[in-house]
Amino acid sequence: MHPAPSVIVFTTLSGLGFGLLFWLGLGFPAVTGWVAFVFFAIAYALAVGGLMASTFHLGHPERAMKAFTQWRSSWLSREGVCAVAALIVMGVYAAAIVFFGVRLAALGVIGAVLCAGTVFTTSMIYAQLKTVPRWNSPLTSVLFLSLSLAGGALLAGQTLIALVLLPVAAAAQVAWWFAGDKAFVKSGTNLATATGLGNIGAVRAFEPPHTGTNYLLREFVHVVGRKHAAKLRMIALAFGYTVPFVLLLVPFSHVVALLAVASHLAGIAASRWLFFAEAEHVVGLYYGKR
């Protein structure tokens, strides 16, 4: 799959933002006034910034409102509905804390559930696709959710929770990589089933339909990106999980916390880049590519 920068930025930042909102909704940390304002401002900047970035890859962003209509069938629509509901509920909750010093605990819990729901619906957009075997797994949702909650805890300064969730997310990441590496073969889709010619003999793509490229090849076949996959996985593991974990063990200071968050973001961006670059769409088979 083509790793579109807008989608990588969106899923990385909004995942982190909704993760932070989740913990704020549950009252970790139970801040008020200006400190609460700064926390919520950061969370909203990440979540809304991510959502805005996601509209950059639309052909017609001006029609984006229509995307709220098909929540009965479409995970993308559900994500939109969930995200807006989460932002509104958390907005009210935040306003009450920041301006009136009142914690509406029940509203916060509802908001937190909606935030986690948003991350889950995002993950389902990918996990539902049978056409991309690497994504078509419940592990994709586990990965997105554990990452979002771990990153959110890190950003919320919840050292203890982050120290537990970062290894959990790292384990989900490694499990997802291992399962993903076998997924395409396990899916049972290959050039023989794609063409239905397998019972005659070994099928080979002889000539593509055209000498140039096309939308399908640009969007779904991204072979170059996998060249440094092994190195990038190590970078993602080191910066996304290990470095923040170690920095959390160091006595707290804002500089160390900032370093931990920056390192986590860089690592997760690398992981998210691989999420797309390594994912192979079955349509590549028709072109003799994967």
Binding site: L76, T131, A205, N214, Y215, F220
Partner: protein, 253 residues
């Protein structure tokens, strides 16, 4: 609504004969010709006369080589367009309701004025049947020439998809695959029509007829004498003259 209909009254679709397709790409050209100036936005080209041309097509012809365990390889031309699946994953993922499957004939269409160009339907399609138009920013796909097949302004023989009408080899057939007595259903029955990627669970309406085994040059049975045999025997079995000398000289080196 992007939920799929429980069932459709008819299942209009194509039957593509891989045995007869000669790979001329006439269906590709006629498809682009008709659909660039009819239903919805035109099928744009980018850099059409430059170094790196590309464009939107609703139908493309691949070619595959199949090597059986024994015997010569076969070359099979393979036209591919939307299969108008019964369980079309492209429809249910659409967030706006732009993609839909018609109850009356099962055709999968895009309402372009509702399409936000998110591309998720193309991600969900295993066949590469949907292409985002780079100029218009909306998703394009085969409409089964919905603007031809019911068009009273056209002569009756033209009320079939452009690709079917134009195919010089008769490799493309159009009809109701939901009716077991239709010509296309009988053809599928007779020739063992197949689904592409059945494991994806899309239940395609379009069917492909597998290529027949190639004719083999048979050796003459024992005892029978080919009357052409004297004419076909090699003229010179042992090289003679200068060639014979050269052959022997080179052997010795």
């Amino acid at each position: 609504m992007t939920t799929l209909p429980e069932s459709t009254q008819r299942k209009m679709g194509l039957v593509i004969d891989l045995d007869t397709c000669v790979g001329c790409h006439a269906c590709v050209v006629s498809c682009k010709g008709w659909n660039t100036e009819n239903y919805g936005a035109p099928l744009s080209d980018q850099d059409p006369y430059g170094a790196n041309p590309s464009g939107t097509f609703l139908n493309r012809v691949h070619s595959y080589e199949v090597q059986p365990a024994e015997g010569a390889a076969q070359l099979i031309h393979f036209p591919k367009s939307c299969l108008h699946c019964e369980d079309a994953p492209c429809v249910t993922v659409c967030p706006t309701g732009a993609s839909y499957k018609r109850v009356e004939d099962g055709i999968v269409l895009v309402n372009e004025s509702d399409c936000i160009g998110c591309g998720l339907c193309a991600w969900a399609c295993p066949y590469g049947a949907r292409e985002m138009d780079a100029a218009e920013g909306v998703m394009k796909k085969c409409t089964l020439c919905v603007d031809r097949i019911y068009n009273d302004n056209l002569p009756e023989e033209d009320r079939v998809p452009a690709c079917v009408r134009t195919c010089p080899a008769g490799a493309r057939h159009f009809g109701d695959l939901g009716d077991p007595d239709s010509d296309v259903s009988k053809l599928v029955e007779e020739r063992g029509g197949m689904d592409l990627m059945p494991e994806q669970g899309t239940k395609p309406v379009n069917k492909y007829l597998p290529p027949r085994p190639k004719d083999q040059v048979m050796a003459a049975p024992e005892g029978e004498i080919d009357i052409l045999a004297p004419l076909l025997t090699p003229v010179a079995e042992e090289p003679k003259g200068f060639i014979g000398w050269l052959d022997k000289a080179l052997e010795k080196i």
